[in-house]
Symmetry: C2
DNA sequence: GTGAAAGCGCTAACAT
DNA sequence: ATGTTAGCGCTTTCAC
């Protein structure tokens, strides 16, 4: 079907340069014990022939491959993409290359077994180590280093960077409570995800701690999309006793809330305080408040951890806890709940 | 530093199952000429040992690797991410796996040589074929199939899926002109990108064709971000003679325009018509008009083309031209320019 | 400073 | 139906 291999190999380079393959290999790997004259000749032949090293063969023979693997459950997931950017940034600063393996549709195939498959595939073959995003398994059979980001297990026995879903939710709620809000609506994320569950727990715990009883009507179920944000916001704002503030599980959802506020001619934050989790979509100009989780930072940190492990260095800590930060995107100050409340009454 | 290879190989499986490696290999590759009894035994040993095939070794020996490579110039680029989603979708439906190679920071290293490097790396090693996004080079030295998406060259000598930057811009402009607008503002994308230049050309040509002379004041320079969208919109709307409609180079920029409109208490589309290119960020609820380029579709189509090539099938056409579609996101109808104009007068 | 040769783990003839 | 064996392209001792 296809004609046989035309790829230029290290053998071709050696032959044309009139030198042995081992010497070519030395040059390729930056060994110093090669006559500079020979080196120049080899380099020029490599260039002429357009030779590039065969990744597979190289990986098989050498311990060090200078490649970091990244395994993501799903590429359509903004969180994962953001992580990827951070990883990419750390990679750009290092001598490593990045290879991303996506498991495609998670729901189709068994998740845990897939994860193991990809980890082995990358780790035992072409990568020196692997970063895995939101893994469900807590044990992988591989001896190459692994760092996980936002693992679903509390205490995985591998290095991990933890997201601050719970603490971030507490921060957001304490901010709103600090403004004097008593009725705060909540829009959940995709309920099957840990991140969503933790954010909800933060919502509940903050209210409990503040001595405010929880009104289940104020908790609506979304799925991290703007669409459900719209639905949930309509639902919340049409209650007989509507909330004066809404805490949305992510920024997409917050955008949905924003839209509904526009429709209802409510100004944010004057008429309605809105806090969204994660600053993925640039919403700088919307007057929203954001709990920024520095998601891409997680990818960055995880990559640095992994590189240390690959280099045989010890980590100061096996887990790294990210921080969250409240960012007020609005140029105007948030009004107190008292004022907000009175405005709400007019709606 | 690290203890020596502990990885379980096909040899280990063979030894424990009391069978030869070739038989194990046969089972692994789904050959039928193996006694079902033997097959079961091997399968169970594989499972017990947690064996996974070594990608590198497999790739080296076999012609078919069942892996598609995707090379992207930059991961932070929303266009590329969208493409990736489409590729992923096509991959999920196929028997191929996906390996993504990002060149990291494009600006740092020479782009063209990098592209060649990655193509060879993937194609001659572990992938059966490669999809490359927005390549600058028009010739690659590799014999494995390549499909490019939105190549910078007009007529590359490899299969390509072309974006409809120019036609899409014409569509958008004709839409606005059809509404009766005479003064239409434009916000460019990153000027160094082909996509941006083509969109601008569409803007100019549409006006020319409509017999409207071009006012250079109405062309502002953005960079595909919401931030510049805001700046440019402020600039445009504070002209003595402001535009009645704005065509933004992408949806992020359009979001910036939207923000400024909010600040100035202009309603969209009643007071100001806004059209944005590409529907990457979900802006369904903003009342904006979008020229949808079906970006992820491009990834999907490209992947299908590549798989055909890998399978040795012929393509009906060497290039595939995507379509664009105008999508009105607003629930309310666009008002005519006459009305818009009069409202603008009041600003 | 350079070359010869031994594999890495696997697949694919070719045997049996 | 299964085993034997020869490499794929490369790195890496170990010679010289």
């Amino acid at each position: 079907m296809r004609k046989k291999r035309r790829t230029v190999t290290i053998q071709d380079v050696a032959k044309i340069a009139g030198i042995s393959v081992s010497t070519v290999s030395r040059v390729l790997n930056g060994k110093t014990d090669v006559a500079s004259e020979t080196q120049d000749r080899i380099l020029s032949v490599i260039k002429d022939l357009g030779y590039t090293t065969n990744l597979a063969a190289k990986s098989m023979r050498s311990f060090r491959k200078d490649i970091v693997g990244l395994i993501m459950p799903d590429i359509a997931y903004p969180f994962a993409i953001e992580v990827m950017k951070g990883v990419n940034r750390a990679i750009a600063e290092s001598e490593f290359d990045l290879l991303v393996y996506t498991t495609g549709d998670v729901r189709k195939s068994g998740r845990a077994s897939h994860e193991q498959k990809y980890v082995s595939l990358l780790n035992n073959s072409i990568a020196d180590g692997v970063i895995i995003v939101a893994p469900v398994t807590d044990k992988f059979s591989t001896d190459a280093p692994i760092v996980s980001i936002d693992p679903l297990m509390r205490d995985p026995n591998y290095a991990a960077v933890h997201a601050t879903n719970y603490q971030g939710a507490l921060d957001a709620m304490n901010y709103l409570l600090g403004l004097g809000h008593q009725r705060i609506g909540f829009i959940t994320g995709r309920v099957e995800l840990e991140s969503s569950a933790r954010r909800l727990k933060g919502y509940r715990d903050a209210l409990k701690k503040a001595g405010i009883s929880i009104d289940e009507q104020l908790i609506t179920v979304g799925d991290y999309t703007a669409e459900t944000g719209v639905q949930c916001a309509r639902e919340l704002l049409s209650l007989k006793h509507p909330p004066t503030a809404i805490f949305a599980s992510n920024d997409q959802t917050a955008m949905g809330v924003y839209q509904v506020a526009q429709e209802m001619r409510l100004r944010i934050p004057e008429d309605l305080s809105v806090v969204g989790f994660d600053n993925i979509v640039e919403s700088k100009y919307m007057g929203l408040t954001t709990v920024d989780q520095f998601i891409s930072e997680m990818g960055f940190v995880a990559t640095q951890m992994l590189i240390k492990l690959i280099n045989g260095e010890r980590l100061e800590a096996q887990t790294y806890q990210m921080r969250t930060q409240l960012v007020i995107r609005s140029s105007c100050k948030h009004h107190s709940a008292r004022k907000t409340k009175s405005r709400m009454g007019r709606v």
